[in-house]
């Protein structure tokens, strides 16, 4: 089965859920590029035209993906739109792969789509889905549970709203002004008041850890990160898409969660 994923994090999951019965092509996978500004190429349009299953993030994150699907009508193609599954519309927080609950929703929907299009191998897909949940995502889940148990309620700061779903799942208190998180994520200018609030939170150590997205490091983000480094606030670097590009979703997320746990341990001396 030929599968196209708009982004490599969903592509990695789709490929592990289909085993050797699917060939997955991920459109956005370059860790050096900002996925917000992605423009599809003719090769991407060909991939969407030939795909039997399309996995898109939705929620306004990849507005080009529904256009490519509309420009290439195909009978019997299954479209997994994670934003629709999660009930997040354009304008909401589109970073659904940073929410463990929405990752689970996507896994269930992809397995269902595979089983519907290729019913003869449905048991194969269901068993792969079970194995991915029990083994593939084991350290991802146990790390989240461990950090939650030990550090729930710890105040943290972040450069953008990409970290908000994970902070909520772990139970961390994200103190950075919501408007600044949204502005950096959406590529607009944060207000001076929000910037000075974020400065104060770092200088006064009101936040234990500073989390920043290296793939969307605007001058404001770099300045805040430098301030955190100077004032001795532990820094956690996260990325928008898997780094290196070949890393699986769970390997990439696990490394980031381990770094977050180490930073929280350093900050709270636990």
């Amino acid at each position: 089965m030929s599968v196209v994923a708009a982004e490599s994090f969903w592509g990695s999951i789709a490929s592990q859920l289909g085993g050797d019965r699917v060939r997955v092509r991920s459109v956005v996978s370059n860790p050096a590029a900002d996925p917000h500004d992605y423009e599809p190429t003719p090769a991407d349009a060909r991939a969407f035209a030939g795909a039997q299953v399309a996995v898109v993030n939705g929620a306004g994150y990849d507005p080009w993906a529904p256009r490519l699907l509309a420009a290439n009508p195909a009978r019997g193609r299954a479209v997994v739109n994670v934003g629709e599954l999660a009930g997040v519309r354009a304008g909401g927080n589109p970073h659904l792969w940073y929410s463990p609950a929405n990752v689970e929703r996507a896994i269930a929907a992809i397995t269902t789509a595979y089983s519907r299009l290729d019913p003869r191998h449905a048991t194969y897909y269901v068993s792969l889905g079970r194995r991915y949940a029990s083994q593939g995502l084991r350290s991802y889940r146990s790390l989240i549970a461990d950090i939650r148990r030990r550090f729930a309620g710890t105040p943290v700061g972040a450069s953008e709203s990409i970290f908000s779903p994970l902070a909520r799942a772990i139970g961390l208190r994200l103190l950075t002004p919501q408007r600044l998180l949204d502005a950096i994520s959406e590529g607009t200018d944060p207000t001076a008041a929000d910037k000075s609030t974020a400065d104060r939170q770092i200088a006064s150590h009101a936040i234990s850890v500073w989390v920043y997205n290296r793939q969307n490091a605007t001058p404001d983000v770099r300045r805040l990160t430098d301030a955190a480094r100077r004032d001795g606030v532990p820094i956690v670097t996260i990325t928008e898409t898997p780094v290196p590009a070949s890393a699986s979703f769970q390997a990439w997320q696990t490394l980031q969660l381990e770094a977050l746990r180490a930073a929280l341990e350093r900050a709270t001396r636990r």
């Binding site: 917000h36 599809p40 090769a43 349009a45 035209a49």
Partner: protein, 315 residues
């Protein structure tokens, strides 16, 4: 990774067949054809009427239109048409031929700056990712659906029908406003109607070429055609042929190469324009002995009319 589609051998028929294999590419070629024919014909009048700056302003107005539509949760195309239509209404009172050209240019420039300011406001008010700003400005051809193709064909048919009905008096009013008015042609009404038609053509063209590159189909083929011939029907046919050639070749090159369609269409039409000017300059030199560089400096347009206007301006 994009798969290597282009084989090492230059298999032209195979490549052409491949272009029609994918639905998105068929849609892009169909939409490009409709837009090219309409833009070339409307553009021919734009160049004759010397309303290039108004056309430029209407194309920039498309940007706040698209950003405003995103803000209101509407499709981008509706924003293009609404904003260009409003822009034409705003420009119509300022647009008159005659001695007040300087005032007209200043008024158009003011509308243009205001429109861009509104576009920036809408883009910053829009919460969420304003996806594909580059596509709004520089065009994209991979995401055109069947509905858009039908709309573009309907718009093109309407525009060409309107030119077919009013083309003759419009040409008269464009070349000789005083004479046309004396002969009972409604010059002012025709001018306003033409601006609306131009807005329609710009809004449709901007969906393929983006707001900034509208000129590549609207003005360049028409200017090239006028460098080659000053006869109206022949000029329009040459402009249509050039626009079709650059659109089809541009789409094909963009399909097989990693470079964007906007670059290919602009550079191809620029190439044809330069060739036409060089050809005209060489012919003029062999005819009256003027140096080719001197001839290249002259603006485009039918040579006879141009010389008469210059003399009037100097008198």
């Amino acid at each position: 990774m994009p798969e290597p589609v282009a084989a090492a051998t230059l298999d032209i028929p195979g490549r052409v067949r491949e272009l029609f294999t994918y639905h998105f590419m068929v849609n892009a070629l169909a939409a490009g054809t409709a837009v090219a024919v309409m833009a070339a014909i409307v553009g021919w009048f734009v160049v004759v009427r010397r309303q290039v700056f108004a056309g430029h302003t209407l194309s920039l107005v498309a940007f706040p239109g698209a950003a405003g539509a995103a803000l209101a949760g509407l499709p981008a195309a509706s924003g293009y048409y609404a904003a260009c239509g409003l822009g034409a209404v705003a420009l119509a009172p300022a647009s008159r031929s005659g001695p007040s050209r300087g005032a007209e240019t200043a008024a158009i420039g003011t509308v243009q700056a205001f429109a861009l300011g509104c576009g920036f406001l809408f883009a910053s008010l829009y919460h969420g990712l304003l996806g594909g700003v580059a596509a709004l400005l520089f065009g994209s051809f991979v995401g055109i659906d069947d509905g858009q193709v039908l709309t573009l064909f309907a718009v093109a048919a309407l525009a060409i029908a309107l030119i077919g009905i009013a083309g003759r008096p419009l040409l008269f009013a464009s070349l000789d406003p005083e004479g046309a008015a004396a002969a009972g042609v409604p010059v002012r009404a025709l001018g306003a109607a033409f601006l609306l038609l131009l807005a329609l053509a710009v809004a449709a063209t901007a969906q393929i070429t983006g707001a900034l590159l509208v000129f590549t189909l609207l003005v360049t083929p028409a200017a090239t055609a006028q460098a080659l011939t000053s006869r109206p029907v022949a000029g329009m046919l040459v402009a249509v042929a050039l626009a079709l050639i650059v659109t089809w070749l541009g789409l094909a090159f963009a399909y097989f190469s990693p470079w964007p369609v906007g670059f290919w269409i602009t550079s191809l039409s620029f190439g044809f324009f330069v060739l036409a000017r060089v050809w005209r300059a060489r012919r003029a030199r062999s005819a009256c002995g003027t140096s080719p560089t001197r001839r290249l400096m002259l603006p485009p347009g039918p040579p006879k009319r141009r010389r008469r206007r210059t003399r009037e301006g100097g008198a």
